[in-house]
């Protein structure tokens, strides 16, 4: 049985379709990445899956229970942590833990055991009487995750858990996610950090409420971009890009820091053509041209642009 | 400097425009409240419910009294008053006619429910007056028979200026206006600043080149505009519903309102600097404006009847000064000579609280 099965899930707010008929499955114990731009419908989908927002149509089975008419059973089997820090800032660490443990009905030995676990993963041993609001962001985030899974749910939903957290804390946070996954917990995580997406077993991408790609990161990179990609390093990036975009054999261009990525329409074009065009014809000094395998970022920009063009038409 | 203040003001206006529920509450409720309360509040004691023993109906014929019931034993008196069925019981003694005919004095007992001391006082005046005038009438009739005139040494000729019918509603409405305006002003500005604190957006403003004063001014301007609109609506409603014509000078009224809003908003700004959460700001706004503008402002309770210490404390609410101005302009059509001192008080009040707010603000930033 899959941990989550989503069938034709749709949510309409007035005239606006936030989630448009999406389908996907999440396997038991995997880390499932849920990607998309802001406003693409990620949070709306998650809110339906955790049973706090009624779908307009369609259904989903979470841990085998329907989100439509068994939302109470769903809630017993899941943990949830949102991008907004949602512990009480004015309570101490241990008061927060005790409160949420109490809500999930943990007591006695079990409570002690889980409390110590949360303190350990959040690196807060011997700091349990500190006011939560005064903790640094990264630690808070881990405490929130620890508290969200204090009842050892089978599935945990993380809605942009690392937004606004420094890189080292993000790394620590992902270690914790991996630990949970190894322990058999299914993790569904939304993010817009694409390096984080590489840690996921399976990924889906949504745009404007529609599912536009799915697979693991390798599949995404090979299945969705067939054409070669060239990475170009030059001293006048913007000029170079304008020149390139006039050529018929150039599909898409995008800027990655100091580089330009060009997706070609024509397999016969190679590095030489670029030097020829930029350096010889336009006098731009080109430092480097290299054929690369696409990153997830290339894939997503490509897919979203394609999808947006289609929507406009 | 003006550009920056303007930018803040524009942002604030935009946010307000978007919050339609809030706008609805701010503009709609004051009018509704004024309409309902304006009709509801008055101290005019009419239709005093009374119960009597005797057959004599001389007292009841007055428009001030409504006869509720006749009773026939002492126990019923207690029940009538305990359960607030009547406000007063009139007891005519058994031998009244006999004693009157034999030219003796007759005592008529009035038992008045004194729980509401003010009404009781008025009722007392009414029954005294009614009894005396009936008594004089009896004497006159008697003397007329013998061909003599009644000698009354003093003929009291009361004249009531500005309010010949002695209605209390017209007197109370300026107070109601002041109260509505101060609450809207204090609560809305203090919450809007504290909200930025709570959401952390104030940090962003603190790191910008904007100074405290610019920030506060920028925040205040939209609320001055809103409150002025509000004041206009409330005055219009007063005119349409209660026929309160502005007897005095319109410009003076505007000046007074402006001074009042300045004072009220600076109180709100001060609250926002001491409160860290909307909850605390709300409670503080309640404590400083809701009840004080009702009870300490002279709206209902005359300030000169209060103990001296409390009289000093009444200065905590700018409504006190505004009510004096409103009553002078609206009811008596008085000129600036009647209330220039109030304008100065309002100005001082506003400056003091703005200064306090800036001080507290600086202190908290240095922490």
């Amino acid at each position: 049985m899959n941990a989550i099965e989503v069938k034709n899930l749709t949510k309409v707010f007035g005239k606006f379709t936030a989630v448009d008929n999406i389908n996907f499955d999440v396997k038991q114990g995997e880390i499932f990445g849920f990607l998309g731009a802001n406003g693409a419908g990620k949070s709306t989908t998650i809110r339906m899956l955790i049973g706090i927002l009624e779908p307009t149509s369609g259904d989903a089975l979470v841990s085998g229970y329907s989100i439509k008419n068994q939302s109470d059973l769903v809630k017993k089997n899941i943990g949830y942590m949102s991008q907004k820090f949602s512990l009480y800032n004015d309570l101490t660490v241990v008061e927060n833990i005790r409160f949420f443990a109490g809500i999930y009905g943990l007591d006695g030995k079990k409570y002690e055991e889980r409390k110590n676990w949360v303190l350990k993963v959040a690196d807060l041993e011997n700091m349990e009487n500190v006011i939560t609001g005064s903790l640094p962001g990264g630690i808070k985030q881990r405490l929130a995750l620890g508290t969200a899974v204090i009842h050892e749910p089978k599935i945990v939903f993380l809605d942009e858990p690392t937004s606004g957290v420094d890189p080292i804390s993000r790394r620590n946070f992902w270690d914790l996610i991996n630990e949970l996954s190894e322990g058999g917990t299914t993790v569904l995580v939304t993010t817009h950090y694409l390096d984080e997406a590489e840690f996921c077993n399976d990924i889906i991408l949504i745009n404007a409420g529609k599912l536009i790609a799915q697979g693991n990161s390798k599949e995404l990179k090979t299945n969705y971009i067939k054409n070669p990609i060239l990475e170009i390093e030059s001293d006048r990036i913007v000029d170079s890009m304008e020149i390139l975009e006039k050529e018929k054999w150039v599909g898409e261009t995008s800027i990655f820091g100091n580089y330009i990525h060009v997706i070609l329409n024509d397999n016969t074009i190679n590095e030489g053509h670029i030097y020829d065009l930029l350096r010889d014809k336009n006098g731009i000094s080109v430092k480097r041209v290299e054929k690369i395998t696409p990153t997830l970022e290339d894939v997503f920009i490509h897919l979203i642009e394609k999808d947006s063009k289609k929507n406009v038409q | 400097m003006f550009n920056r203040i303007f930018a803040i003001a524009k942002k604030e206006m935009r946010q307000l425009k978007r919050d339609t529920r809030m706008l609805f509450i701010v503009f709609f409720f004051p009018v509704v409240l004024l309409a309902i309360f304006g009709y509801a509040i008055n101290f005019d004691v009419h239709h005093i419910k009374i119960a009597v023993y005797d057959q004599d109906r001389s007292l009841i014929s007055s428009e001030y009294f409504d006869l509720v019931t006749y009773i026939d034993n002492d126990d019923q008196i207690k029940k009538m008053l305990d359960e607030k069925i009547v406000q007063a019981v009139v007891v005519f003694p058994k031998d009244m006619s006999r004693r009157l005919l034999s030219k003796q004095e007759v005592k008529i007992q009035f038992l008045v429910d004194g729980v509401d001391g003010t009404s009781a006082n008025v009722i007392q005046n009414y029954v005294n007056a009614a009894t005396y005038s009936y008594s004089i009438q009896l004497t006159k009739e008697y003397l007329a028979v013998t061909g003599k005139n009644l000698y009354v040494p003093i003929d009291l000729q009361p004249r009531f200026w500005f309010n010949p019918d002695l209605q209390s509603t017209r007197f109370l409405i300026p107070g109601l206006m002041g109260m509505i305006l101060i609450i809207t002003a204090v609560i809305s500005i203090s919450l809007s600043i504290v909200r930025e604190k709570e959401r952390g957006t104030i940090e962003q403003i603190n790191v910008s080149p904007l100074s405290s004063i610019e920030f506060i001014l920028g925040k205040t301007i939209p609320y001055i505009v809103i409150s002025l609109i509000n004041a206009t609506i409330v005055l219009l409603a007063g005119y349409i519903l209660f026929d309160i014509v502005i007897k005095g000078n319109m410009l003076l009224l505007l000046l007074g309102t402006f001074a009042f809003l300045f004072a009220a908003l600076s109180l709100g700004v001060f609250i926002s600097t001491i409160a860290d959460s909307q909850q605390v700001a709300f409670q503080a706004a309640n404590v400083t404006s809701l009840l004080p503008s009702l009870i300490l402002s002279g709206f209902i309770f005359p300030i000169e009847s209060m103990p001296i210490a409390i009289q000093v404390l009444t200065n905590i609410t700018p409504a006190k000064f505004y009510i004096v101005i409103l009553r002078a302009i609206l009811l008596r059509g008085a000129g600036i000579s009647a209330f220039w001192d109030q304008l100065i008080y309002l100005g001082i009040f506003g400056l003091v609280f703005i200064a306090l707010a800036t001080l507290v603000d600086k202190k908290s930033k240095n922490k």
């Binding site: - | 429910d113 003093i154 002078a328």
Partner: protein, 376 residues
Amino acid sequence: MKTIFQFIIKELLQVKRDKKMLVVIFMAPILQLIFLGYAANMDVNVIHTTIYDQDKTSTSRDFIKRFEQSGYFTIDHNVSNYEEVTDLLNEGKTLVAIVIPKDFEKKINRRETAPLQTLFEGSDGNKASIALGYIQGIATKFSQGIVAETKDKLGMKISLSGSLIPEVRVWYNPEMKTRNYMVPGILGLILMISTISLMSMAVVREREIGTLEQLIVTPIKNYQLILGKLIPFTLIGFVVLIIVMIIMTQWFGIVVRGNRLFLLFTALLFVLSNLGIGLFISTVSKTQQQAMMASVFAIMMPMIYLSGFAFPIENMPVVVQYITYLIPLRYFITILRGIVLKGIGFSSLWFETLILFGMGVTLLIFSSLRFSKKIE
């Protein structure tokens, strides 16, 4: 049960931790009741008076003296022309101007009637009419004195006819002190304001911070969440209640004539109905700002004006009187004044008690139902 218990502990811890809030919740009612209790006094005992004595004789001075001695009148101005009188009245500097005519003494000596003009700044109709009452009293007494004097002079012994003498007895509050009437009312107001404003923030605050979303993802039941909010605030409301009761009886020395336990019981019903209202506001509001504006304008202001706290309900138009039936404070103030000042009990107040009970229960049930664990 345990879940609710944990919730209560959490709420109390949060209150405990917010020092400013603690001060506001417990200190504000005490200070307000004390200050406002002294302020809420409609007794008219300072009447600013202007005298325009055109006669300046011993009779007129004797007459003026009676005003000074009454204790109500403060003679601020002695003027010598009408213009001054007009100015003082226009600027609101004096409440009443008494004009004693030129031939006051002469007329009285000649057994003629002397007209006494009294000009009132009448904008405060209530005050003016009470002042008129006092003046009538003084004038009548003065007249009686003169009549008796002339009778003596003329050697007349018997009265000319039978006369009626009113004898007014004021029950419950013989000195007609407004404080005894107002302090219980203010107690009700303060209790209402503190409980409603606390509760109206309870849910919407968590919504704004984001913790509500976390809570509704947990298997916690609606009723558990509601009770978890309600019980701690009832406790707080009850503590506030005890504090203000103590101040009323000990500080202001207002004796509770009726049953104290019954008073506490009805107060608890009142607190519950307030919490129900607060909870309703809290669940329908999207932001704290909305909750506060709604509670002040839609709830507290009407409660203040229409409860009969200061403005007698009997004086209101009939339509407005019907609206007052919807107001819990109205019933509580009737009960409060009944128990405290009249010493009556359930047998006279059963109707108000039942209504308060019904309102409390209905409001709580209604707002619990209105509160849904789904978000919009």
